[in-house]
Amino acid sequence: MTQLSQLVDVQSIQADGTSLTLTTSGGAALVVGNQSFNLTTQTDPTSGFQDVFSQVRDITSSITGGNLAGDIQLRDKEIPSLQSSLDTLASGIANSVNTQNAAGFDLNGHAGGNIFVPPTGVAGSAINLAVAISDPNLIAASADGTAGNNANATALANLQSQNIISGQNPINYYSGIVFQVGNDASNASAGLSGEQLLIQQLQDQQSAVSGVSLDQEGANLVQFQNAYTAASRVASIIASLFQTTINMIGA
């Protein structure tokens, strides 16, 4: 049970003195009497991830404790939220750079095209971010079509200080993401050391009650041995008293 409770949140119900029922705190049966029910996994058709099933019921979202819940939370909440931030950043940069480039003229005198492959949507932007051109002459540096004009290049460079990503500039937005990761990790390890202290204290308390102290058992041993010796002395004195009495009667 101790091992099981490290994996998932377990509740135990003592049915009648002899049989035990174990369920997750969501109520999915794990052990009933002498029968056990395996948890199984199935591939989710939309996300492609594995869902946890008890019999035919999907219990993925109702698992609230243990390693399994931690892994699921990391997979379904923490990482997707970071991914979506990175996607927002990537699509914001790609779209603003493309828009600004389209406002100018390249070295051939043509209106600027896309510098980045245009993202099809926000989701997946970060992983699909790619530069669309290989010829530097296609960067629309010029704002008026003359080769020596650099006004659009300056505008492209200045995108870095403009609030093009959810009301923030790209640098601040990115540093916000990194701060979030660092903060989550540092909160988690602070939480971990707190919990570890708690576990240690509980284990100490458990051990204080149930642990075997050789000193105490030794003392008990001496005590019981003395009591035994004393009792047998009493018995032998009584026996000798009887003996004396019987001898007196006989005489």
Binding site: S142, D144, T146, A147, G148, N149, N150, A151, T154, A157, N158, Q160, I171, N172, Y174, S175, G176, V178, F179, Q180, V181, G182, N183, D184, A185, S186, S189, Q196, Q200, Q203, D204, Q205, S207, A208, V209, G211, V212, S213, L214, D215, Q216, E217, G218, A219, L221, V222
Partner: protein, 298 residues
């Protein structure tokens, strides 16, 4: 009654050793890298500040590179215009010489030919290139700005434009980096190429030579005024460059303030943890080998 103490001290010791080992590892990593932030969780707000700091550093580096490139281009332009001054002075003295009424027609013709040579030199100076682009063509940098054309009043055609390019050399600070060729060589307040052409015609026809010479003198002083832009711009680049390198130093020291490991402090932490680790091991060894009551009950 006494409080019962857990007789099993091993778990406590192990967790103590574990904690100390972690302190040793952290201190070791900081000493090895020289940085107090080795992952975002070491100092989340510090890492956010570092990212902003690095962005500012790379922007400053780019500005410094821009200034370096501009300085070499502007120096080429400045020295080209400087060499024009000597040529112009030669033209002025030729004009004075041609005004001498005792000269023969053949002498004037010879002077006119010299002046034409000077005209060509000035046009080739006006067509100076650097890195494959024309320096005095406005923003039409890929088109040769001046071509000789004897039927034009100024003797040349200008194929550039009158635009000025601005380059950002520090946050929010831009400089103009060129004077368009028409403003330098065909300025309405005194057209250098125009007055040379008129002087040539005057000498060839022997009419109005003094007036043409005067006009050339006036054009030469206008040219001096226009070309002084390059000296001023170079000075400005110089001083902004100095400002940027001091800003870069500041950013670097700010970066160190954020994430440089305090070596003295880390070393102290390291040796403290080391002593504690050894002490704990020794104490544990002694406690575990202590005799208990049973040992004495024989």
């Amino acid at each position: 009654m006494t409080v019962r103490v857990s007789p099993n001290i091993v778990p406590d010791t192990l967790s103590g050793l574990n904690g100390l080992k972690q302190q040793l590892n952290t201190a070791d990593l900081e000493l090895a890298s020289g940085r107090s932030i080795n992952s975002p969780s070491d100092n989340p707000s510090g890492i956010a500040a570092l990212i902003v700091n690095h962005a500012a550093q790379s922007a400053t580096d780019t500005f410094e590179r821009n200034i370096g490139n501009l300085q070499s281009t502007l120096q080429i332009a400045d020295s080209a215009l400087n060499s024009a001054v000597g040529v112009i002075n030669q033209a002025i003295s030729l004009g004075v010489q041609a005004g001498n009424s005792s000269l023969s027609a053949g002498d004037r013709q010879a002077i006119a030919q010299q002046l034409q040579g000077i005209q060509q030199q000035l046009v080739s100076i006006a067509n100076t290139r650097s890195g494959g682009t024309y320096l005095f063509a406005g923003t039409q940098v890929e088109t040769q700005p001046f071509t000789l054309n004897s039927s034009s009043g100024s003797g040349v055609n200008y194929n550039g434009n009158s635009s000025v390019t601005q380059v950002e050399i520090a946050n929010g600070q831009s400089v103009n980096i060129n004077v368009p060729g028409d403003q330098l060589f065909l300025n309405p307040a005194g057209s250098l190429l125009g007055s040379i052409n008129q002087l040539i015609t005057a000498v060839q026809t022997n009419t109005g030579i003094p007036a043409a010479s005067d006009a050339l003198g006036q054009a030469a002083s206008e040219f001096d005024t226009q070309r002084s832009f390059y000296g001023t711009a170079l000075n400005q680049l110089q001083s902004t460059g100095t400002f940027l390198s001091s800003q870069n130093l500041q950013l670097t020291s700010q970066e160190n303030n954020i994430d440089a490991a305090d070596i003295a402090k880390v070393t102290t932490t390291f040796s403290q943890a080391e002593v504690a680790y050894t002490a704990l091991l020794e104490a544990e060894g002694k406690v575990l080998s202590l005799p208990n009551l049973i040992s004495f009950l024989q």
